[in-house]
Amino acid sequence: MQLLGLYNYWVFVVLLMIGFYAVIAKSNLIKKLIGLSIFQAAVFLLYISMDKVEGGTAPIIQAGVPDQIYSNPLPQVLILTAIVVGISTMALGLAIVVRIKEAYGTIEEHEAAAMDSEA
């Protein structure tokens, strides 16, 4: 279990970095939004890797089994909320990208900025 613990957090760090790199370095607006969703997915992994208890199962209480160990329900509730926040921000970001495409004709940030600087 010890190896998995460390590996879980390393994957969280790597995914965080991949997402953050995509948000900063990529100039395509949709690629930035994809990077943002990877960035948020990594945070979900951090929360959910907290809730695992050795030998525990999902926190659904079976009446029959008296001393069953359950995993921690609280991070799961937080992440349920965070996933839906992520999808809402994504939907709004995509709507803005569609409007930018109609207004500027491009969804590359540097081309749109170039158009603005002339105006």
């Binding site: 879980n8 790597v14 992994l45 609280l74 409007r99 495409k101």
Partner: protein, 328 residues
């Protein structure tokens, strides 16, 4: 044994993420993002988070892929080389990685039962729920009742996203929600794809039925309003893709979508207000009926229905807003 599976899934996650960032073709990136979400859902399941796995699969893989494809249809499908330097972002990213790795030194090991996370609030939830709310799925109990205010905020985040997309992509004409009137929308659907239409028509009723099962089974097993809303919306979107948007809008017209969006958000808030009027605090369901446990269960069922309504209405409105937008 599950360690091997978990390590495999986590490595696949990283590989998919790298592939997503490197690929130039945006359609491929969106498809890989769907695979990324499914792998993440499998990972959550390995870590005993059944509810979250269902949500991540339904919302992350299903709806977000549809939204990205809807947006890609209206914008360019290939990413152009920006050409500016790669080094500054890399340096910033490496510095951040170092700080986060620094944070993982003293953290409790994975799954160790006496980690502080499992000491304070969680055992109370696990021990008190059978007595106070008496429903098997503790996650739904915490989501609906103990932290019901969070979920209310959650419904209004979805509601805000819905009206924001309608504000940006909606029609300028009063009374009409979407930018092209129903008669101009695509009526064809996948006309010459006979087989998908037949199979689709066969499956859609069962998808909607499964969505309703997830909605009302939320107290006893993984499920709840968000997952149910996403599944039912996915079913109706599949119908729209197969039969064309006009048929889908005939099935669930704009007025129905408006009623669902407003009804869901208002139902949740009014349940809270009724609790206030009956003497308890906001969202305190135990005052809803003489027996407090029955009141809690009634409250949770009502708010989950509100969440399901709102999420279905909003996701469908967002899909129709994207689909009805004239391809410039």
């Amino acid at each position: 044994m599950t360690i091997l599976l978990a390590v495999f899934l986590l490595t696949m996650l990283v590989i998919t993420a790298v592939a997503i960032v490197r690929t130039r073709d945006l359609f491929a990136a969106v498809m890989l993002l769907g695979i990324f979400s499914l792998l993440m859902a499998a990972n959550f399941f390995v870590l005993d988070a059944a509810d979250v796995a269902l949500t991540e699969a339904a919302v992350g893989a299903g709806i977000s892929t549809v939204l990205f494809l809807g947006a890609l249809a209206l914008t360019a499908a290939r990413e152009r080389e920006s050409g500016d330097s790669r080094w500054l972002p890399l340096v910033v990213v490496v510095i951040m990685a170092a700080t986060v790795v620094y944070a993982t030194f003293d953290k409790p090991a994975l799954g160790d039962p006496n980690a502080p996370v499992h000491q304070h609030v969680a055992p109370w939830y696990l021990s008190e729920t059978p007595r106070l709310i008496d429903i098997p799925n503790v996650v739904t109990a915490v989501l609906g009742s103990y932290r019901g205010y969070d979920t209310l905020g959650e419904v209004f985040v979805v509601f805000t996203a819905g009206i924001a997309v309608l504000f940006l992509l909606g029609s300028g004409r009063p009374g009409e929600l979407f930018s092209r009137p129903p008669d101009e929308l695509s009526t064809g659907g996948l006309k010459h794809h006979l087989i998908p239409r037949v199979v689709g028509k066969l499956l859609i009723p069962f998808i909607i039925l499964f969505g309703l099962y997830v909605q009302f089974h939320g107290e006893y097993g993984p499920g709840g309003g968000f997952q149910a809303g996403a599944i039912i919306a996915a079913g109706v979107i599949l119908y729209a893709l197969l039969e064309g948007e006009t048929r889908a809008l005939a099935a669930l017209p704009e007025s129905a979508l408006k009623v669902m969006v407003i009804g869901g958000a208002l139902l949740y808030t009014l349940v809270g207000v009724v609790c206030m009027l009956m003497g308890g605090n906001f969202l305190d369901y135990s005052v809803l009926s003489t027996n407090s446990v029955a009141g809690q269960q009634l409250g949770i069922i009502l708010i989950e229905a509100g969440v399901g309504l709102a999420v279905t209405g909003v996701l469908l409105s967002i899909f129709h807003a994207f689909a009805a937008r004239a391809t410039a």
